[in-house]
């Protein structure tokens, strides 16, 4: 267990959360400001390891659902968060002992911390994705049998919707529809779990990971070291089953964005300047899905792809990419639990319409 007491730590966590977002998940800026304000008011987030939970403890995920364009106007309401907590405890019929993030990449890394800090409830050091994904059902929680519902949804005006679906995939569709009816930004409690489940179904230590990544980038910048190398050295830890590789270093020569069926599609081309044709290509579907060098896959979902500003190592979301940026692309292994066969059936390459199987980034990069 530890508490976050410094403004700098919150900013580091937000930066780390963008890197783990693999290009998606939304800008954590709103969540970052919320937490910084809580710190100013003297409240600090408490983070506990799953192993510190009692087996019969009760844990839920808190998440915001909505469009990035809307979040930046509606911001966050403390009243809504507290009401959601109250309504959830009433609905589930028991006190919530801890909160957990369903998605550590992007803005939803911050909302459990926001409510946890305000209400004095600890937040689990872990999440259900270890990154960002576009759908509610794409979690380790779901893969290993935890239902996303029953769930309580709430908007800032006090409208409450209870959702109880037969599958997590249907829950995704229903939640999205409710969101659209309520001004395109709602908060909800999902994946009610026991302490025992949390210990088994979670991608562990990811909250601390966001903090450490952000710190590494900042420290490397301040010490005039190459910040990208700094973060790579930290991420690449084979002893702990983590692999990170620099996949490419170049300049963006083209970015394509389009919105189809409510999702962000696109691709980015990156060139080293050596040849006429750009050698490197990353496909986007809300997140960075697959990276190919000369047409050969070098990293693929659920492994993470991070595009960093070449100088500052600032992680860039897909919306931030623009022609001419000097970038460095990093491939980072998803947590071992995320690479298991049963997980790949829920968020492997084929679920995103890619006609190839998952292979780990460390193998792809080493292959001739």
């Amino acid at each position: 267990m530890y508490t976050i007491t410094s403004d700098l730590d919150v900013r580091d966590m937000a930066r780390g959360a963008v890197l783990l977002g693999s290009g998606g998940g939304g800008d954590p800026y709103v969540g970052e400001l919320y937490l910084r304000n809580q710190l100013m008011e003297g409240r600090c987030p408490t983070i506990i390891k799953a192993s510190e939970l009692a087996d019969d403890a009760f844990v839920v995920s808190i998440a915001g659902v909505g469009a990035p364009t809307v979040i930046v106007e509606h911001l966050v309401s403390t009243l809504t968060l507290l009401r959601l907590l109250e309504a959830s405890e009433k609905f589930y019929g028991r006190k919530i002992d801890a909160l957990i993030s369903a998605e550590i990449g992007g803005v939803n890394s911050m909302f459990p911390l926001a409510l946890g800090t305000r209400a004095g409830i600890p937040v689990i050091d872990g999440d259900g994705m270890g990154r960002a994904f576009p759908h509610l059902e794409m979690t380790t929680f779901g893969v290993y049998g935890c239902a996303a519902t029953p769930s309580v949804l709430m908007d800032d005006s006090g409208n409450v919707v209870h959702v109880h679906t037969t599958t997590n995939r249907i829950a995704e569709d229903v939640v999205r529809s409710v969101c659209a009816s309520l001004g395109s930004m709602i908060f909800g409690s999902f994946y009610p779990m026991s302490g025992r489940q949390v210990k088994q179904l979670t991608v562990h230590d990811t909250v601390t990971h966001t903090l450490e990544i952000g710190r590494r980038i900042r420290a490397a910048r301040e010490s005039q070291l190459d910040p990208v190398k700094g973060v790579l050295q930290f991420l690449d830890a084979p002893d702990e089953g983590r692999y990170a590789r620099e996949l490419f270093n170049g300049r963006i020569t083209d970015v394509l964005h389009e919105t189809r069926d409510g999702w962000h599609w696109g691709r980015v081309l990156i060139s080293s300047g050596a040849g006429v044709e750009p050698e490197f290509r990353v496909e986007i579907q809300n997140e960075y899905l697959v990276a190919r060098h000369h047409g050969r896959t070098v990293a693929i979902v659920p492994d993470l792809i991070a595009i960093l500003d070449a100088e500052s190592a600032e992680p860039l979301t897909a919306e931030m990419l623009a022609y001419g940026q000097r970038v460095r692309v990093i491939g980072y292994s998803a947590a071992p639990i995320m690479r298991r066969a049963e997980c790949l059936k829920v968020f492997g390459p084929r679920l995103f319409g890619l006609d190839e199987d998952f292979r780990p980034v460390e193998e792809l990069v080493a292959a001739p």
Partner: protein, 522 residues
Amino acid sequence: MSTAPPVLGVDVGGTNTDAVIMVGDNVIAAAKRSTTADVGEGLIEAVRAVLEAARMSPASLSTVMIGTTQFINAFVQRRDLTEVAAVRIGLPMTDGIPPMVGWPDDLIKVVGNHGYLVGGGSFYDGREYERLDTAALQQAARDIRAKNIRSIALTAVFAPVRPDIEQKAAEIILSVHPEADITLSSDVGGIGLVDRENAALINASLRQLSRKVVTSLRDALGRLGVNAPIYLSQNDGTLVSTTYATRFPIVTCSAGPTNSIRGAAFLTGLQDAIVMDIGGTTTDLGFLVRGFPRETATAHLIGGVRTNFRMPDVLSIALGGGTHVRGSADQVLLGPDSVGFELTRRALVFGGRDLTTTDIAVRAGQATIGDKSRVSSLDDRLVNAVLNRIHTQIEDGIDQMKTSSLPVPVILVGGGNILLSRPLRGTSKVHRPEHADVANAVGAAISMVSGRVDRLFDFAVGREKALEQAKEEARSAALAAGAEPESIEIVELTELPMTHMRTTAVQVKVRAVGRLRVGGAA
């Protein structure tokens, strides 16, 4: 011989006040004087000098156009700012992030921390989720009045979609607090509540100063006998009236680099180019698109405060004429430190002891300044290695600014242009125009007027129809700003669809510009 009436263009910078007189497309005369603390005296000196050089009388000037960095400098240096109150119409939303979270402490100390949240606001589609809480608003206004604060920034959720909510709220505040001086967020920013509210607050804190500066400029010109209408340049290189500038000083904050870029463009006749201003300490690169500077796409910090305010996209490289040179031919170290304004004392060619990029340029025969003999012993290999490095850094900067891989022309202004002698990779031609040292005053003198729209449009009516409506709104705004109707054209159109939602709302940004109507704004 042109028959166009003469216009006066002025740039009131932090160090120098530059003035040019132009007739049609010709620069008739130029003058450069030191900026003074009250800005008025420096202006009088520069204008008097340029009138003398042009042999013209003050009364013959038809229009005066002024660009100034006074407001941005004041905000960055935290001086001459007033205390402000932030009133936000948002409840039951937004209460978790009150106004000014994340602002630097030294700034809060000067402008105070007076935030008020009241009920009201709209969804992205314009529906009100809560009626404006009149009683709470009146209470806030009474409280602000009791604190003797006049400057207020007023921000409502999704105000770019429903500006009328802010307008109505302003009337209510004024009915309780008639002395209130209110900045509406919808007048200074687009989607993104925190950034827009920040812009409104910055503007509110600068209003008192802007009245003082504009009055000082007006009085100075009046004393000289200049009776022509006066305009100020705004960030996008178009003009606003002095009345508008006193209400929205933030729109003039970044006029300096913009005018420099546009002036350079004008002096060469180019519409699309990279403009490179090589000074003593840095090289600033801007990108000219259809005669206007390209603007930043991401959030922009002003004095440590994040805003989504439109700013020219300027890339600064730590490389200028005063940059220190260290190391050997095999390992050249360039800067990033510079001798800056002490160049004429510290560089080798001026009898100093610091090896600078200027010394290398003189040794290479690219410039004839100072005492050449003081650098004659410099190693040829070192000189060559430094020049290689300079050109590579500049070429990398050009590369970063480009929007396509096609070669672009480059316009070189600023005293540091002696550093470059070779063709630059990725460029088609390097231009070094006459009057490049007063390019910013020229930029002010050729300013046009503009109108803008940045809000969500419903594409359910059809994309073409929705875009046409957006363009029409921008044209009307340009007309209201004083544009000649026939000269108005749409220079920018951006569509940003809402992701994660199956909706037909699309954020559309449109900008229309036109020539200033003789006689000015309506």
